[in-house]
C-alpha cells in the first residue's frame, strides 16, 4: 500500500490537547514555500552565521588534533596499560548510538505507519550520516596508522594478511560500512523529489543546475512516484535489521571478551536501546533550537516533541532495565570478579561517574512522566542534554572501570583523558554540528513531499 493511499482525509487532531501534526496554516502550497525558502532565500537568520563562525574553529581544532595524533602517535592520548581503550572507543560507541534514532525514525516508524515522523525523518537521517562519520574516525585513528586501515578489509595481498574473522572489530567494519551505505542511500533517495522541487523553484540558473543534477531528472511523473515508493519501502525494510545489528555488533566488541562488566549476555539489546535513547535525545537537542530559529513550530509541533519525549522515556527505561540486570546478576552469579566489578563501579575510584550516569539516565528522565514536561521545549531540551551526557558517561563507566580494575590488582591504574583526547572529542562534536548547519542551509531539512502526504486534503481543496 503506498503512502499516498493512506493520506488522511480527516484532520488528525489529538483529542486531549487539540493539536495536530501539521499546524492549520499549512497546505501543499505553504509547506513548499516555507521549507524551500529556508534553502533558496538569502535571509538566513543571523544565528546560523553565528553558529558557523563558532563551529569553524572547532572543526579546525579537530584537524589539529588529528594532525598531532598522526605525527606523534596514540601516546598523546591518556591510554595506559590496563586501560588500552579509552576515549576512542567511548566516543565511537557514543556517536554510532546517536545515529540510530535516524534509522529508527526513518525505517521502523515508516514501516509501522507512524506518519507523524514525516517532519523529522530527514533531519534525523542527516544526523545519522554525520554521526557515523564522526564515529568511524575514532577506530580508524586508534589503529595508529590510519593510512593502513584498508588492511581491515579482506583484500587479497602479497603478505597473506587476512582479518581475524572471530574478532568483532572485523564485524564492526562490515556492520558500520553497511550501515553508512544504506543510510546514505536512504537519505539521498528520500530527498530526490524535494531536490526536484528546489530545482524548479531556484531563481539562479547555477543553483537550479546543481539541484537539477542531484534531482536526477525527477519529474514527479506517476511512474517516478511508483518506483520511488517501492524503493523507499525496500530500503526501509533493509534498514530495519540494521537498527538492531549495528549496535549489537558494537556491543559484542565488549561482550565476547572475558572482562567482568563487558561479558554479559544482555549487552546486545541493551546497547541497541541505549543507542536509540541517545539518538532521540540528540534529535531533541537539535530540533528544539532549529524549530525555534527557523520558525518551524507549525511543522515540528509540540505533539512531535511530546512523542519524542515518550520514546525517550520508554527507551530510557530499557536502559535502566539493563543496569538492573547487570547489578542483580553480578551478585547472583556468585562470581567474585563480577561482584567486585559492580561494587567497584559503585564505590571505587570512578564512583562519582557511575552515580552521575545513574542520575542522568535513570533519574532525570522521570520528569517526562508529566505531560507538561513533555510539552515544554525547555524541559525537553535540558533533559535531552542531560541524557546525551549520561550516555557518554555510561560508555565511560563500561570501558574504563572494567579495564582500570581488572583481574590482577597489581596492574590496576587510573585513567583520564588528556587535552588531546578532549580536543579530538569536542572537535568531532564541532564537525557534527557544522555539517548539520550546512545541511540545514543547503538541503530541505523537512521533506516537503512527505509532509504533503499528511496534510489533510480539505486544506488543499480550499485553494482550488
Amino acid at each position: 500500500m503506498s503512502q499516498q493511499d493512506q493520506a488522511v482525509d480527516i484532520e488528525k487532531v489529538d483529542k486531549y490537547t487539540g493539536d495536530g501534526f501539521v499546524a492549520p496554516e499549512y497546505n501543499n502550497t505553504t509547506v513548499t514555500q516555507k521549507i524551500s525558502n529556508i534553502v533558496l532565500r538569502a535571509d538566513t537568520p543571523w544565528g546560523w552565521y553565528l553558529a558557523v563562525a563558532v563551529l569553524l574553529p572547532v572543526v579546525g581544532m579537530l584537524g589539529i588534533s588529528i594532525t598531532w595524533l598522526v605525527l606523534i602517535g596514540t601516546g598523546v592520548w591518556g591510554l595506559n596499560v590496563p586501560v588500552g581503550w579509552g576515549f576512542a572507543i567511548i566516543n565511537f560507541v557514543w556517536w554510532i548510538g546517536i545515529g540510530h534514532a535516524g534509522t529508527l525514525i526513518s525505517a521502523i516508524l515508516h514501516l509501522m505507519r507512524q506518519d507523524w515522523r514525516n517532519s523529522i525523518n530527514r533531519f534525523a537521517e542527516a544526523m545519522t550520516i554525520f554521526a557515523v562519520m564522526c564515529a568511524v574516525m575514532f577506530p580508524l585513528l586508534h589503529v595508529g596508522r590510519p593510512w593502513l586501515a584498508y588492511w581491515l578489509l579482506p583484500l587479497p595481498n602479497t603478505m597473506s594478511l587476512w582479518p581475524q574473522w572471530r574478532s568483532p572489530l572485523v564485524w564492526d567494519v562490515f556492520a558500520v560500512s553497511t550501515y553508512f551505505t544504506v543510510s546514505l542511500i536512504f537519505w539521498y533517495m528520500g530527498m530526490i523529489p524535494d531536490l526536484g522541487t528546489l530545482r524548479d523553484r531556484a531563481k539562479h540558473p547555477v543553483v537550479a543546475r546543481i539541484y537539477g543534477i542531484f534531482a536526477m531528472g525527477w519529474r514527479g511523473a506517476s511512474s517516478h512516484w511508483a518506483r520511488y515508493e517501492k524503493a523507499y519501502l525496500i530500503l526501509a525494510g533493509l534498514s530495519t535489521p540494521l537498527v538492531l545489528s549495528v549496535h549489537s555488533i558494537v556491543s559484542l566488541d565488549f561482550a565476547v571478551s572475558l572482562i567482568p562488566g563487558w561479558h554479559t549476555t544482555v549487552f546486545p539489546p541493551y546497547f541497541v536501546a541505549g543507542a536509540i535513547y541517545a539518538g532521540f535525545a540528540m534529535v531533541l537537542t537539535l530540533t528544539i533550537p532549529v524549530r525555534h530559529w527557523f520558525g518551524l513550530q507549525g511543522l515540528i509541533t509540540t505533539r512531535h516533541l511530546e512523542n519524542m519525549g515518550k520514546v525517550t522515556l520508554a527507551t530510557g527505561f530499557i536502559v535502566v532495565y539493563g543496569y538492573a540486570m547487570e547489578a542483580f546478576i553480578s551478585w547472583y552469579s556468585a562470581s567474585p570478579y563480577e561482584g567486585f566489578m559492580m561494587w567497584n563501579r559503585m564505590t571505587g575510584q570512578y564512583a562519582p561517574v557511575y552515580w552521575a550516569l545513574i542520575f542522568c539516565n535513570a533519574v532525570s528522565i522521570q520528569i517526562l512522566w508529566w505531560k507538561r514536561a513533555r510539552r515544554s521545549p525547555l524541559v525537553l531540551f535540558i533533559v535531552s542534554l542531560i541524557v546525551g551526557v549520561g550516555m557518554w558517561l555510561e560508555r565511560f563507566v563500561i570501558v574504563v572501570t572494567s579495564l582500570a580494575n581488572d583481574y590482577m590488582p597489581s596492574s590496576w591504574d587510573y585513567y583520564a583523558g588528556t587535552i588531546w583526547d578532549w580536543s579530538l572529542y569536542i572537535g568531532t562534536i564541532g564537525f557534527f554540528l557544522f555539517m548539520m548547519c550546512l545541511f540545514i542551509r543547503f538541503l530541505p531539512m523537512i521533506p516537503m513531499s512527505e509532509m504533503k502526504m499528511i496534510i489533510p486534503k480539505h486544506r488543499n481543496k480550499k485553494d482550488a
Binding site: D9, I10, K15, L111, R166, P241, L244, S248, L252, A255, V256, S257, L258, H263, T264, T265, V266, F267, P268, P269, F317, Y321, G322, A324, M325, E326, I329, Y332, S333, A334, S335, W369
Partner: protein
Amino acid sequence: MTAISSNLLAQLNSIQSRALTIGVILVLGGLLYAFATGAMSGFYQAYLVGYMICAGIALVCMAFTMLHHLIGGRWGFVIQRLLEAGMSTLPVLLVLFIPIVLGMHDLYHWTHAEVVAVDPILQHKESYLNVPFFLVRTVFYFAIWITAAFLLIRWSTSQDASGDPGLTDKMRNICGPGVVVFALTMTFASFDWVMSTDPHWFSTLYGVMMIVNAGGATLSSIIIMMTWLRKHEPISKLADADRFHDWGKLLLAFTLLWFYMMLSQFLIIWAANLPEENPWYVHRVHGGWEVLSVVLVLCRFVIAFFLLLSIPRKRDPRRLVRVAWFILVMHLVDIFWHVAPNFRLDGFSVSVMDVMVPVGLFGIWFFFVLNRLKRYPLIPQKDPRFEELVASVSKAQVSKAKA
C-alpha cells in the same frame, strides 16, 4: 442481553467443554503414567513446561493490552477482548502453580539442604534461592499481575455499559508504569521458575528472552483465535486482510527477535567459554540434544521466517493460521528445550508425559480463557478511540468499493 450471538455461544461452549475434558484426561493420564513408572520428576518437568507456556501467554496478553492502551493503533482493538480473556486467567494460574510447589524438590536443586551445605555457590545465593522467599516472590508477582489485570478488565467492561471516556485515561495512566513493572516481574519470575532449575547458571538476557518467546506464542494464539472468530459478527467486519497482515508482521518481528535473543546469548557465552556459563550450552549440544537444538532453530526461525516473509500468506488467514500453529508447536519444543536438558544430563530423552501434560494443561487453561471470552462482547463497545476506528474502517471500505 446476551453479549454474543447464541450460535457462537454454542460453539464456544462445545470447544470449552472439549478443551477441559481432553485437558484433564491428558494431565491425569500423565500423572498416572508418572505414578506407574515412578517418574514423578519427569511429570513435574513436563508440568513446568506447560505452565510456562500458559503463564507466558497470559502475561504477554497483559503486556500487549498495556501497550495497546498506550500506543493505540488498529492492530489492538479487535483483539483487545481476547487479550483480556487471556490475562483474566492469572488467578487460575496462581492455583495451577500449586503442583510446582509440590514438585519443588524435584525441580529445584537448590531446595536440597544437603546439596547447599557442600556448594559454596549455592550458599552465596541462599539468601535469594530459598523456599520461603521463592514462595513470597511468586505470591508477590501474582498479587501485582492479578491487580493490574483486574483493573484493566473492570474498567474496559464497565466502559461497555457507561461509555465514560475517562476510563480510557484511567487505563492509560496505569499502563505506563504497568509495562515497567511487568517487564521486571516477568524477568524475575523467569529467573525463579526456569533459570533456577540450573541454579549455578546465569544470564542477564534470560528475562528478555522468555518475554520474547512468550510474545511469539501469544501472537500465534491470537492469529489462531481470530481466524476462527472472524466468521462471526462483529469480528468479521473488523478483522480483514489488513489486520491479519499487521499481526503477521508482528509475528515476523517476534520470530526475528527470537533468533536475535538466541544468537546473542549463545554467541557471547560460546566466545568467552567460561566454565561458569558454558555448561548450560554443553548440555544442549551433547548427548542428542544438539539435534533438538538444530531442529528448533531451523523450525522456529529459518522456516518460520521464510514462511512469514510472503505478503499474500500474511494477508490470508487460512494460510497464516498454519504458520501460527507451527510456531505454537515450536514454542512447546522451545520451552521443553529450556527446561528438560537441565535435568536429563545423560542425553536426549523424551516421554509421552512431555507432550501429554503441557498439551493437557494448555487445554485446561484454555477452558478458562473461553470462559471469560464468552461473557462479554467480543469488541469493546464504547471506547471513544474505537468508535473513530470503526468509522475510518467503514469509510475505507466504502472508498475501496468505489474504486
